[in-house]
Symmetry: D3
C-alpha cells in the first residue's frame, strides 16, 4: 500500500525524522511517502499556525490523489477532517492515533507537549474524540518545536521532568509525547520511566495499516462526503462576483 505521511509544517529536518519513524514501524509492503507543504509555517504551535498550514496541507493532498491511506504528522491533527473528505482510504492524525493507542494499553495517560499555547487546541481535540475522560493531564515543557531539532538534549531533560510530574502528581500510567518532533525520544524515555511513552507517528502508521488490513475505508455517508478533487480550490471555486464587497469604506 501507498501511505502518504504529511508533515504539515515546512521544516525538512522534521519531515525526515517523521519519515524515519514511519519507516521503522511500517510493514514491508508499505510504501511511505513522507512529505511537507511547499509553503506555510515552519512549525505548528497554536491556533494561528494550524489555520495557516491548511492551504499547504490541502495542496499536498491534492498532489497525491492515489494513495491508500494518509497520516497527518502533526500532533494537533491539523486538517484531518478536511482530508477525510478528499480520500477514500483512512486518514489518521498522530494525536488521535496516540490517544487511542494509549487508551488500550493504560488506564490514564498524560500528554507532554511543547508550548502552553498549544494546550487549548489539544484539549478541544480530546473532547471531540471523547477521550478526555482517559487523559490525566496535558503538560507543556515550553520548549518550542524547533528547539527539539537544535537542542535535543536540553529538550529531553525538560520533557523527562514533566513525565516525572505526570506520573507522580497526576497518576498517569502512560505518557503521550505531544509533538511529531519528539518521535526519536519515546524508546529511551519508555525504558527510563518503566511505562509506555507513546510516539504518535509510529502509532498512526501502524494503526492506519491496521484499518486498511481490516478492510475499512473512510465513511462517505456523513460529514466526510467527498469534496471535489483535482483542482486547487481557491483558483476555481471563486464566484463571479467575488471581488465585490458589501461596503467599500476603509477596506
Amino acid at each position: 500500500m501507498k501511505l502518504l505521511v504529511v508533515n504539515p509544517n515546512t521544516t525538512a529536518s522534521m519531515t525526515a525524522k517523521i519519515g524515519r519513524a514511519a519507516e521503522a514501524v511500517a510493514r514491508a509492503g508499505t510504501q511511505i511517502i513522507a512529505t511537507q507543504p511547499r509553503s506555510g509555517p515552519a512549525s505548528i504551535q497554536g491556533f494561528h499556525d494550524v489555520a495557516n498550514s491548511l492551504h499547504g496541507l490541502l495542496e499536498v493532498a491534492e498532489r497525491h490523489p492515489d494513495v491508500d491511506a494518509v497520516v497527518v504528522a502533526c500532533f494537533d491533527d491539523t486538517g484531518v477532517d478536511a482530508l477525510r473528505c478528499m480520500f477514500d482510504g483512512p486518514v489518521i492524525g498522530i494525536g488521535e492515533a496516540a490517544f487511542h493507542a494509549a487508551s488500550m494499553v493504560s488506564c490514564r495517560f498524560s500528554v507532554v507537549t511543547t508550548l502552553s499555547r498549544s494546550l487549548p487546541g489539544l484539549r478541544d481535540n480530546l473532547e471531540r474524540y471523547g477521550l478526555s475522560r482517559r487523559c490525566a493531564s496535558i503538560r507543556a515543557t515550553d520548549v518550542p518545536v524547533l528547539q527539539l531539532e537544535s537542542d535535543g538534549a536540553g529538550a529531553e531533560a525538560l520533557i523527562a521532568a514533566e513525565i516525572g510530574d505526570a506520573v507522580e502528581r497526576d497518576g498517569a500510567d502512560a505518557i503521550v509525547l505531544g509533538c511529531a518532533g519528539m518521535a526519536d525520544l519515546n524508546d529511551r524515555l519508555s525504558r527510563r520511566f518503566g511505562l509506555p511513552v507513546i510516539d504518535g507517528v509510529s502509532c498512526a502508521v501502524t494503526m492506519v495499516e491496521a484499518l486498511v488490513a481490516a478492510g475499512l475505508s473512510t465513511s462517505k455517508a456523513g460529514g466526510y462526503t467527498n469534496a471535489a478533487r483535482g483542482r486547487l480550490a481557491h483558483e476555481q471555486e471563486t464566484a463571479p462576483d467575488a471581488q465585490g464587497q458589501a461596503r467599500s469604506a476603509a477596506t
Copy 2:
C-alpha cells in the same frame, strides 16, 4: 468603533445580506466593514470547505489590522480561534454568538441548518463551547447554502418544517438558524412560531459591541497569544529547506 464583519466565502450576495443584517442592529457609532476573501469556496458546507476557506480568511484579517472587533459571519465559526491570535479586540463567530444568546433567552434551543454534512462540525463546536447541554437537536434541511440566495421561498418552507419538528418532537423553546444566509428570515419565522428564532449575525454584532462596551479584549495570556502580523504567512515563514522532502518516491 470599527467592526470587521467577514463572510469567509466568496459569494458577494451573501456578503451583502450579512452587511445589511449587521447594519440593521449595530449601534450608531459602529462602522461596519462587511467583506469577504478574494478567493476560496463559494459556500462553506462541511469540513473541506472550512479548511479551504482559511487562507482567504487570514488574508482578509491581515488587510484590516486596525479594527476594534471582528465578527466571522459563517455559522461554523470558521477560523475564529486563529483570528483571536491576530487581534487585540474581541472576535466572535456567528455560531457561538447565537448559541450563547439562545442560552440566555430559552431553556433548550434547536439548530436548523443547511446540509447534513455540516452537522458533525456544529456538534463539535457545541461540545467545545460546552453548550451542547443546552441544545435539544441539530436539524438539516438539506437546502444548499446558495439555494437560499436563489430560491428563498422554497427554502423557507423547508426551514419552517424543521422548526415545527424541533418544537414538537425535540422540545425546543428557541430556534437558532444555522447559516449566515438565513439572516433575513428570523423575524418572520419568530412571529410565525411564537418563540425566539435567532439569527447569528445580529447576535454576533450586538454581542461583540457589548464586549467592547464592557471594556473586554481577547486574552493574550493563553492559547490566543499574538501571532506575528503584517506579513502573508505562506510567503515569509517558509524555512530555507522547505522544498526538500524526506523521501522522493512517487511524490
Copy 3:
C-alpha cells in the same frame, strides 16, 4: 430602554456600587433602575441566603412590570429562572453574563469569589449553563461580601493572590470576579495581571442591551411560560385549606 438592575440583597452601598458600574457601561438611551428588596439578607453567601432572598426579589420584580430587560446583580444568579417567567424582555444574571463573556475572550477562565460556602452553588450553575468545561477553577478568598465594602484594600490583596494562583497553577487566561461587590476592581486588576479580569455587572448590562438590540425576548414556549403577574403570590394563591395540617402532632 428601561433596564431593571436588581441587587437581591439589602445592602444599599452595594446597590449604589452596582448602579454606578451599570451606568458606566450602559448605552446613552438606557435608563438604569438600580434597586434592591425591602427585606431579606444583607448579603448572599451560600444556599440559605439564596433561598431567603427570593421573596424580596420577586416583590421587586412585581413592582416593575414594565421594564424592557432585567439584570440580577448577584453572582449566584439568584432567581433568574423565576424572573424569566415574569418578564417578556430578556433577564440575565451577572454570573452567567460573565461566564458567557469569558468564554468569548479567553480559552479558560477562573472564578475568584468570596466565601467557600458559595462554591457549590457556583459549580452547579456552571454545570447547568454547560460552561464548566471552560472553567479552569473556582477559588474563594474567604473575604465576606460586606468586607468588600468596609476594607477594600485588604480584600483586593487577597483577591490578587488568588488571581495569581489561578493563572500560575490552574492555567487560566481570564478571571471572572465572583461578586457584585467587586465591580470596582476589575479595571485595576486587569491592568495589573495583563489579562481580562471580568466584572459581571458590566457584562450583564451590555449583554442584555445586545439581546434587546438583536430583537430577542425570553421564550415563553418552554420552561419560562408566563407566571401570573400583578399580585403578591403569598397573599392570593393560598388555597382555602392551607392552614390545615395532615397531622397535628408536635408541629
Copy 4:
C-alpha cells in the same frame, strides 16, 4: 425519631396524601410531622412557583428546629440545599430520593411528571445530582398537579400512556413518578407494567431513615454550613439603609 415531611405548597389534601404515603412506609419509631407552609403557591409547577414557595418553606423549617430529619415532598426538591444549612440531621427531597432509588433497582429510568414547564428544572436537578446519565427520558402528561386531586382516574390514564411510551420507545426499565400528588398510584401502576414504578415520598422517608440509622448527618464542612436559626430572616437581617435605592427614577 421525629421526621418533618414538608409539602412546600399550600394544598392541604396533597399534604394529607403525602402524610399517608409517609406513614405507610415509616418505621414504627418514626414520628411523621406532615405539614405545609401557611402561604405560597397552591401547587409547584415550574421555576416561578419554586421561587415563590421558598419563603413559606423556610418558615416551616424555622418552626421545627428540633426534628431529626427532613423530607421535602416536592418533586423539584425545592429548597433542599437551603434546608441542609438549617438542620444537622439529613434532609432529602423526594425527587433525588426517587432518582437514587431508581439507580439501584434498574438500568435506566424514565420520569413521568405533570406539566412540560417543569421539565427544565428536573433536567437541571438530574444534571446537578449527576444522575442524568441513568435517565432515559423525562415525559410530561400535561396534567396539572391539582387535577391529580380532582380527577384521579383521567390523570392515571394519561400517566399510564406515558409509562408505556417510556418503556417501549425510550428503553426505560423503571419509572419515577414525578409529583408528590402521584403518591397513591405507584403500586397499581407497578403491577400493571411489571416493573418498578417509584414514588418519591416513600423512597425519601425510608432513605432518610436509612441515613439516620447509618449514623449520618448533614456535613457542615462545605456548602451546608449552618445558617443562623430561630429568626425570620426578612425581619432581622435587613440592613439599616435597605430602603434606599441607588437611583430613584421610575422605581
Copy 5:
C-alpha cells in the same frame, strides 16, 4: 427480612467485621446472613481480583436463593450487576451505597481507599453510576486490605492523613472510606474531622432495608432479566462441543 451480606473475598476476619457492622445498624426484624465464598482471592484489590472472585460469589448467591435482599460487601461493587439478574429483591454494593449516601449529606465527597491499583476501577464505577460529578477526589493510602486486619493503628494514621488532604486540598466536605475492612473506623474519624466519614457496609444495609420498606424490587424489564437459577452455570451450560478448539497449535 432475610438479608444476605456477602464478602466476596475469603478472609473470615473481614467477613466477621462486616457482619458486626451490618448487625450494628440493621433493623430488629432483619436477619443478617454474613458469609463469603469457599474459594477465591483473600482480598480484592484491582481488576484481576475482581474477576477472580466472581466464580465464588455466584456460588454463594446460588446457595441463598430465598433471601429478600443482598449486600455485596466489597467496595468495588464486584458482581452487583450479575447478582441483580439472580434475585428479585434489591441488590446493593457497599461502594454505590456510600456514594449515594454521601451525595445526600454533602456537596462533594472524597474517597479514601487502599491500593492505587484499585483507583481505575472505582473511577469507572463512579462514572457508570453518574456520581463522579459529586466526587472531589479518590485517594489511595497504599495500605493493603489485609494490613487493616493486622495493623489497624498504623493504617488508621495513613487514612487520617489522606482525609486531611482531601478536605484541605480537594475541598471535600465528606469522606467515603473505600474498603469494607475500614468498617470499624468511620465513627472515630468522623468525630476527629468533624464531617461525615462514611462506611459503605452500614449505608448498604440501611439503604437496602429502605428499598424493601418502600416496596421496591429489582427491575426485570431491562438488563437485569432473570438468569436461570438453581444450577451451577459452568456445569450445565457447557455446549457439547465445548472441549474443541478452533485451532490446536500451541494451546
Copy 6:
C-alpha cells in the same frame, strides 16, 4: 508473534468462525491461537453471563502465559481489564477495537447487537472508554447469539433492518456489529449500505498487531500491575479460615 484470540463462551462453532475472521486479516507472521474456555456459558448475553464466563476465561489465559498479545472475542469486552493484569503484551477486546476504529473512519457510529439485555453493559463500556460521544445509538435485533449460528439468513435480515434505521433515524455514518458471531456479515452489509460496517474481530486482530508493531505493551504502572501467574487462583489464594462464616443462621 503469537496472538491468543479467546472466545469467552463455550460454543465451538463461534470459536471457529472467530478464528477464520482472525486468520483472514492477520499478518503472515502472526500465529493465531483461537480457543475457548472448557466450561461456562454457551453464549454471553447480559451481566450474568459476563460474570459467569470469567472463571473459564482466566483459566484459558493462565494456560497461555507466553503469547505476545491477546484479543478477547466477546463484544462485551469481558475480562479485558483482568487479562491486562496477566500479560505484558497488549490485550484488546473486540468491542473497544471496533469503537476506536469506527471513531477514525466515521463521524458517528451506531452499534447493532443481539439482545436488549446486553445494551446496558455496552452503554457502560462506551462511557468507560469515553467513546459514547461518538455513538449515535445502540440497537438490539433481539436475535439471540446462537441463532446467528443456526439461522444466519433470518438474523441477517433483522440486522439489516436495524442498520437501515440507524442510518435513517439516528444519523449514523458507520455501523459496528455488536457480536463476535456476526464476524462473517460485515463485508456484505458494508457493500449493501455503502458505508463501513465494522466487525470487531478483524479490528481487534489488526489493531493489536499495530500496537505490537509500534512497540507498545500494557502499562504496569497503574491499574494493570501484574497479578501473580501460573496458579489457579481459587485453589491457592484461599485463606486458612475461609470456611468460617460470620453467622451460621440459614446459610
